[in-house]
Symmetry: C2
DNA sequence: ATGAAAGCGCTAACAG
DNA sequence: CTGTTAGCGCTTTCAT
């Protein structure tokens, strides 16, 4: 089935296809009456302009590519919702691609986006930051990174300021009296993970606590990984009295593992996360975490990209602060477990 | 900046652009040595074929349009993840559009997708089912509906079988001894809501319970709506002892509202949801709900669409069963509240 | 105010 | 095996 084109309308209206093109786009260079006639015809006939033809000529697709880890991650979903909000308003459509934390898949996805000639790219939680370069450069496609591993070679990025937030969480735990504090990270080595861990180390050092290597373990950023990692911590001869998790999903997994061992949060072990998912106030117990303005960050990144596409200059790198949200998953350690540690 | 095209490569390789086209796509009609030379050149020069040019000619974009309510809804996110899984494997990219439960926006979004000449459309939780017709028909674009309002005019749909599941939930509540059971629906009038409500009514009728109109209220499918609706129910002279919610987000909101009144779930009021979000086993208390295989349904819909695109026939309408998952948010009513009702 | 013609990047039919 | 040519649907000079 061949869709109707501008030519079909031209034939029906007994004008040239250029006139149809002009009429349909509201050019003033066409007789209002014929314009109206043409539009009526197009309407009746069910004409929908082809973005392919147009884009080939105009060199713009009004399309932007978004690559995320996985859209099933609620952090990514909210991010994308924020992106959609602003790109849609500006008439852009979104091509969505998933990397599944696999650099090879990520690059393949990016290549597909670029073959479709997206006008710009938004990449969240990328593991291959710099490797986009050779792909983007020849096409002159701008990119804005979100929570990227290494913003180095690029000009635009928006990220959560993980390090101070990670430090704040850890200090919160220390101030409750914890001494054996574990960190469950992410095995993919995201920049955000590195920063959160660094903040954790900073806090320990600042309070004269020694970092114990066996208390730094890795999950996968999802519930399953949190369960596993926490289970491992519980196997230790001296398990931690508090755990700071890379993100809320990990924390939720950790809490499950703790309960599965017949222990309670926070009475036996305190748990803190990072992200503040829409659900984190409703977990059992409500989760102490760091609020990350996900939708806002997505919107910010999208706005930045649109500005770049419009030829405007704009701030190169934005770091948005996280906010410690203390709920009920953290509490002072039990006296007996707290004693006897450094 | 003009990207390099097949012609540029042709010039550099001193062959015609058709030869380049052939070489790059691995046609056997080209000398292996020149083919290799061309490919090397293309690689070095950073060539990426333009899907625009290709699609214009081939009439396929290898792109499918997905329209959802909002990607921030975890049900939709998982659905899309399932879709991605299968479409990606087949080399398709995804254009994502959000309707925000607004028919007008939904149609606008669909129009944008079709202008980009997506090969097919996947629409979840559509409110305008039949209205896609005039858009799709002239372009011959197939659609597969997911949990659609009215599958009537279309051939392909996959939906959760809400009615028996809704009945099962309600009967579970009845079997616990509840008599005043409320239903918090969705104000947008989705088909899934209608079916769940119907199942609820069926169960009441089957057990000789009278349906009380004041116990059927509406949220918005999100936490906020659940809070509001539950608050209204709690204002009643005789509040319900159990509440069946349209979905888990609504149920989570309802539980918040209940706690906000100083009451407890399930001791004072039982709450059940629908969907079984990734998080629903970790709420406080863990939520009784209906498992909806979201990713699987997305994958199923995508497979169906791909088959249609490949010209194969396939099953017209698939209904996947839900599975009642009993957790801790439902329990027998307190004796005093249970008494004195019909 | 309108039409003719060129060209965006690609594929494919046809001719060598 | 390779080149020539036409054309996909559109925008945009350049004439008229």
């Amino acid at each position: 089935m061949k869709p109707v084109s501008i030519k079909d309308i031209a034939r029906a209206a007994r004008v040239s296809h250029s006139t149809v093109s002009r009429a349909l786009r509201g050019s003033p260079l066409v007789n209002p009456k014929t314009a109206a006639r043409i539009r009526r015809l197009a309407q009746k006939i069910g004409y929908l302009p082809s973005a392919l033809g147009r884009s080939l000529k105009t060199r713009r697709t009004l399309t932007i590519g978004v690559v995320v880890n996985t859209i099933a991650d609620p952090v990514m979903a909210e991010l994308v919702a924020g992106i959609q909000e602003v790109t849609n308003r500006a008439g852009y459509s979104i091509l969505l691609a998933e990397s599944h934390s696999d650099p090879e898949r990520e690059l393949r996805a990016a290549r597909a986006l670029l073959e479709h000639r997206v006008d710009g790219v938004l990449a969240a939680a990328s593991r291959v930051g710099p490797d986009y370069r050779p792909l983007l450069e020849p096409l002159g496609v701008p990119i804005v990174l979100i929570n990227n591993q290494h913003p180095k070679p690029y000009r635009h990025a928006v990220s959560i300021d993980s390090q101070p937030a990670g430090r704040a969480v850890t200090e919160h735990l220390i101030s409750l009296g914890h001494r054996r504090i574990a960190y469950i990270g992410d095995r993919f080595g995201y920049q955000t993970d590195v920063e959160r861990f660094t903040g954790y180390l900073e806090a320990l050092a600042a309070h004269g606590l020694q970092q114990r290597p066996e208390l730094a373990v890795k999950g996968d950023g999802m519930i399953a990984g949190g369960i596993e990692a926490m289970a491992a911590l519980l196997e230790l001869r001296r398990p931690p009295t508090a755990v700071f998790c890379y993100n809320d999903l990990t924390a939720i997994g950790a809490m499950r593992a703790i309960r599965a061992r017949g222990l309670r949060v926070p009475q036996d072990i305190s748990v803190a996360g990072f992200d503040d998912l829409f659900i984190s106030a409703d977990t059992n117990p409500p989760l102490t975490t760091v609020r990350q303005p996900k939708a806002h960050m997505g919107a910010l990144a999208a706005e930045t990209l649109l500005k770049v596409l419009a030829g405007q200059e704009c701030r190169l790198e934005v770091r948005v602060p996280g906010e410690l949200v203390i709920r009920e998953s953290t509490a002072p350690p039990r006296p007996e477990t707290a004693q006897g540690d450094d």
